[in-house]
């Protein structure tokens, strides 16, 4: 940085003193190539005070004066411009101003660092009416001053004060008004630009008439409008209240509202608004259409409307995946044809007003191929309106062995829920609940105890009721032969003990079933004991126990 040079001062010990000043001043040691001192430093230090009598001698030539001072008067300030000094060691320019040509009254108001050659002298209301005389001069790195600009023979540069503030303001407004009027006419400022009253052109390279008109200004139905002639390329974002276009293509389009006769996209995400139309893609919290057919592979509905329910009404939804986070209300035609096994309805409430009259045409059919339904709420799974759950023969999976999940993937996991099975009047459905295996406990409220019973052939029914940890049933109020059953149990336990068999029947349950006597045709009610606890080989045990009960009963009767 050669801009800083020390003033040339003749003094025997001057270099040493300057070095000392720099060290103290800059607080550095080592390289001092960029150190500097001010004249004030020199004045305050030994080089001046203690040197032998004699004036400080500054060597070198003063800088050339700046030139061509021009001042543009303004309301808020006068703008000074000048040509820089031709000297190479100019440090800065001083700006002096006075209210008369007497420079001795002038005041240094600013210093402008070289090579800047512009300064705005701000005027306040108190001085705007005053005349101002300006002088500038250059100062070099040796501290030497140039002569004044304007030269003394010419005197200070006069900027007359305005007669009044309001007068000046009116004048400026008048100028602005003229400009506005002028803009209503065509103007050709200079090549390569041409300005018409409603557009402008830009000249391209080549032929003289090779112009482009990037836009035109006008009105459409009374709305001031700017038309883009050609493409509009924007690197950043476009923010607008509305965009209407024949086609919008983009990797990511985000808008509060999109209306179109046809929307095709890899994924459409809609927040809280809706998509309407004859055939809208389904990706909205609310859709109203006769036929909703998604062209996309997945429909995500993240948020419900304000009432907490996502509404899809009146449509026909054909999509691979329908995922609803907060709920669906389905109107006349429910979502169906979910032909992808990954259909997910999570945590929602599904209802329908359309009742099917045939099991082959169900009102709500969801095919789960090797999929799992999880119901994780306290309300459990309800089948209303005399409905039923049908597990077809091809619904297979683990076969209900004790200790394993059972029933072809039906896995109920709930600490607080319950299973309520209403009587099924449709006996044509053979073998409902062919097997039920329950891992864990069943808690049976006394009032619903009699809701567990078997149908069909007793032996088959008995055979297919398993448990490995029945909770003790303490009250069986409406089983008139309860005591008998308990006695049977006692006898069974004794019999098993006597025969060296381990008694696993720490818990028990009483069940009943009706059995038709093949000889007499009489239907009799039998009471059974279901034994609990983990018990290998329980597959036949209950059946055997049942037979034992019958034997014991017969023996008791004979006695």
């Amino acid at each position: 940085m050669s801009r800083r040079t020390l003033p040339a001062v003749t003094s025997p010990n001057f270099p040493e003193k300057v070095k000392e000043i720099i060290e103290i001043r800059e607080g550095i040691r080592g390289s001092r190539m960029n150190g500097f001192v001010t004249f004030k430093d020199l004045e305050e230090h030994d080089p001046l005070r203690n040197q032998p009598p004699g004036p400080l001698v500054i060597q070198g030539d003063p800088p050339a004066a700046p030139s061509n001072l021009q001042i543009q008067a303004g309301i808020l300030g006068n703008t000074l411009k000048w040509d820089e000094s031709s000297s190479k060691d100019v440090w800065y320019y001083e700006i002096w101003v006075a209210n008369s040509q007497n420079r001795s009254e002038a005041e240094l108001i600013a210093i402008v660092s070289h090579p800047n050659t512009k300064y705005v002298h701000s005027l306040d209301s108190g001085s705007v009416n005053d005349d101002h005389y300006y002088w500038i001069r250059a100062v070099n790195w040796s501290g030497l001053y140039s002569s004044w600009e304007p030269p003394d023979a010419q005197g200070g540069y006069l900027v007359e004060g305005s007669t009044s503030y309001s007068e000046m303001t009116s004048e400026i407004l008048g100028v602005l008004q003229d400009r506005i009027v002028e803009l209503n006419e065509d103007h050709f400022v200079e090549n390569p630009y041409g300005v018409y009253n409603n557009t402008f052109y830009i000249a391209l390279e080549g032929e003289e008439e090779n112009h482009v008109f990037p836009f035109i200004v006008g009105e459409i139905e009374g709305v001031p409008t700017v038309g883009i002639n050609g493409q509009l390329v924007v690197d950043g974002s476009i923010y607008a209240d509305a965009i209407a276009a024949d086609q919008i293509t983009g990797a990511h389009i985000a808008a509060n509202s999109i209306e179109a006769s046809h929307i095709q996209a890899g994924a459409i995400e809609v927040g809280y608004d809706e998509i309407t139309g004859d055939k809208p893609p389904v990706d909205a919290d609310k859709t109203s259409a006769d036929n909703v057919q998604s062209v996309i592979s997945q429909v995500d509905i993240d948020n419900a409307k304000a009432n907490g329910q996502t509404l899809i009404s009146g449509g026909y939804i054909n999509t691979d995946i329908l995922q609803v986070d907060y709920g669906i209300i389905v109107g006349n035609k429910p979502p169906s044809d979910a032909d992808n096994t990954s259909t997910v309805i999570g945590g929602g409430f599904v209802t329908t007003g359309w009742i099917a009259d045939s099991s082959s045409n169900p009102n709500l059919r969801v095919d789960f191929n090797n999929a799992t339904i999880e119901i994780n709420n306290s309300d459990g799974l309800k089948i209303l309106n005399d409905g039923h759950i049908q597990f077809n023969s091809n619904t297979y999976g683990q076969t209900g062995r004790i200790g394993e999940h059972a029933f072809g993937g039906m896995y109920i996991r709930s600490w607080h829920g319950s299973i309520q099975l209403s009587p099924n009047s449709d006996r044509s459905q053979t073998d409902p609940f062919r097997q039920v295996t329950i891992r864990g406990s069943i808690k049976l409220p006394t009032s619903t105890f009699d809701n567990i019973y078997t149908i069909g052939v007793p032996s088959a029914a008995w055979k297919n009721v398993y448990s490995h940890d029945f909770t003790t049933v303490t009250h069986v109020p409406d089983m008139e032969n309860q005591q008998k059953a308990l006695d049977y149990l006692k006898n069974i336990k004794n019999w098993r003990k006597k025969n060296g068999q381990i008694d696993h029947a720490q818990h028990y349950a009483c069940v009943q079933h009706d059995e038709k006597d093949e000889k007499t045709g009489e239907v009799k009610t039998y009471y059974g004991i279901s034994l609990g606890k983990r018990c290998a080989g329980m597959e036949k045990m209950i059946y055997e126990l049942n037979e034992e009960v019958k034997d014991l009963k017969n023996k008791l009767i004979k006695r």
Binding site: G27, I28, F39, W91, Y92, L108, S113
Partner: protein
């Protein structure tokens, strides 16, 4: 009987007849650090790279550089994965996670601010005469060296100074300015920081109630300095905090808040905890072009092609440079590894270590100077890993492992599948990575390669060995026997821990045994009777 236990590495310097029994003529793809011989593992590809990648660096995610850059993490953890680097041919840069490269330094403003007086005064004597400078401050809080001085302005009571003609150097990273002015004292003037004021004389405080010195770029027009000298207390620290030299390279973190680099013949150091500032006073000239730098536990070491220098002292302004070798200089800056025991580097005469005690040629007991020079040492790339020096050669598949704990007995060689571009040791995870063209592999982590170990020449004859046994992990090895320099017999799958009878015709004077194996083995023996093998 010939018995070899605890196999060791090669010593090419010596005649193979003069080696110790467990030293090798060939130790290829062997790892001998546990007293036995296990095969080196193959490399495993960890990362795709662009084909032009020469340097990788992991900080958060993997960074790639198209030249042999010197990259360091920011010594100040700002949580944004800042890192700094110099290019192979010079030029310093910095960036953070997800951002583009920025120049390493903060450019010093050239011209001082223009000053305008505001207010008015009826006083005849000025309160002060001030010269102002300003600095640029980046979004990271980095501060440039000051601008040139403004002119001298006398300020009277009731007046203030406003500022203009300040430039950010067209750098978007510069977000603020700091203004300093001179205040006079009994012994001289110093630059002190001027707090931000939008009303002259009223200091603005930040949210932590600290005086606000950083003036947002856009607010500089509102700045009005009306404070008296007595109100100013914070002296300038950045007077000499210049940008790094434009051709600075070899950027190295000394680990004590000081960065080190080189520019031509100069070694340059940063201001403390300021990797972007390289004061002139912190620059030291060496006798010729700097070929690399390193450090021993924070003690700087610099190399020319022929000399090694060390810098004594604790701070860069007081370093005393000391030439510790006039014969050993660094021929490949990629060979330099800074360790706590010294700076390892390749000289013309061998693999050396430099520390405050001087320079020692570590490899002299292993390779003669001539043997060392026969290697492509100008392209040697070193990695210090697990107390060993891993030597690779740029553009070559071969390399060597040099155990620093047991130098004379632990040199092994290896060969990779592809030509090596560079290596990288991940400090955090303790992984050694190899940069190949287009991919980055981790070293010695894959399936076992086949180790090859060839014994010294045993001169014991004439004698007829009849039995052989190799002891090791369950597995087998291929054994080749040489008698008097001729391959005599091979056992293609010699099961470990099993004795073999050798065929007749083994009479000779000089015996060598070569073992190729994918399994670990500990010892072997060749004897004239099966009984003797029990001692193997």
């Amino acid at each position: 009987m010939i018995r070899i236990q605890a196999p060791q590495g090669i010593l090419p310097r010596y005649n193979p007849r003069l080696l110790n029994n467990n030293q090798a003529q060939k130790a290829f793809n062997c790892v001998l650090d546990q007293g036995d011989c296990r095969p080196l593992k193959d490399t495993i590809e960890k990362q795709f790279l662009t084909s032009s990648t020469k340097t990788v660096f992991k900080y958060g995610s993997w960074r790639q550089f198209d030249n042999y850059a010197s990259v360091i993490r920011s010594p100040v953890d700002a949580g944004d994965y800042r890192y700094y680097w110099t290019d192979e041919n010079g030029g310093g840069y910095k960036t953070e996670e997800g951002k583009g490269a920025l120049p390493l330094g903060v450019p010093q403003p050239d011209t001082g601010p223009s000053l305008t007086k505001g207010g008015s005064s009826s006083e005849d004597n000025p309160l002060r005469s001030s010269v102002y400078v300003y600095t640029r401050v980046t979004a990271w809080g980095e501060e440039s060296a000051p601008s040139g001085p403004s002119g001298v302005m006398d300020v009277y009571d009731g007046e203030w100074i406003e500022f203009s003609d300040m430039s950010d150097g067209e750098s978007s990273h510069v977000t603020h300015y700091r203004i300093y002015r001179t205040i006079g004292g009994h012994t001289g003037s110093v630059y002190v920081a001027v707090p931000f004021q939008t009303t002259a004389g009223n200091i603005i405080y930040d949210g932590d109630n600290n005086i606000k010195y950083d003036i947002p770029k856009g607010d500089i027009g509102d700045m009005k300095d009306g404070l008296r000298d007595a109100d100013l207390t914070v002296s300038m620290e950045v007077l000499d905090w210049l940008e790094p030299p434009s051709d600075m390279k070899f950027l190295t973190d000394l680990g004590n808040g000081i960065m080190m680099g080189a520019s031509g013949k100069e070694v340059v150091f940063s201001a403390l905890w300021a990797p972007y500032a390289y004061p002139l006073a912190y620059r030291y000239n060496l006798d010729s072009q700097v070929t690399g730098v390193g450090h021993v536990a924070g003690i700087p070491v610099a190399f020319t092609k022929y000399s090694t220098y060390i810098f004594d002292g604790s701070t860069p302004d007081s370093f005393q440079q000391r030439k510790i070798s006039e014969t050993q200089g660094c021929v490949s800056h990629l060979s330099i590894c800074s360790t706590l025991d010294g700076v390892l580097f390749a000289s013309r005469e061998g693999l050396c270590v430099a520390n405050p005690n001087g320079v020692n040629i570590l490899s002299l007991p292993v390779w003669l100077r001539e043997q060392w020079k026969e290697m492509d040492i100008n392209n040697l790339i070193g990695a210090y890993f697990n107390k060993r020096y891993y030597g690779f050669f740029k553009g070559d598949k071969k390399g060597f492992i040099f155990s620093l704990n047991d130098i004379e007995q632990s040199i092994v060689e290896f060969e990779l599948d592809d030509d090596v571009v560079n290596v990288y040791v991940e400090g955090d995870g303790g992984h050694l990575y190899i940069v190949f063209e287009g991919h980055l592999d981790e070293f010695d982590v894959g399936d076992n390669l086949t180790s090859q170990w060839k014994s010294k020449i045993f001169r014991v004859g004439p004698i007829n060995f009849s039995s052989f046994k190799i002891v090791g992990d369950e597995g087998d090895s291929k054994i080749t026997f040489y008698v008097d320099g001729q391959q005599k017999y091979q056992i293609l799958e010699a099961e470990h821990n099993k004795s073999y009878r050798l065929p007749t015709g083994f009479i000779g004077r000089e015996f060598e045994i070569e073992i190729e194996s994918e399994y670990r083995w500990y010892s072997m023996g060749m004897s004239r009777s099966m009984e003797e093998l029990n001692n193997v």
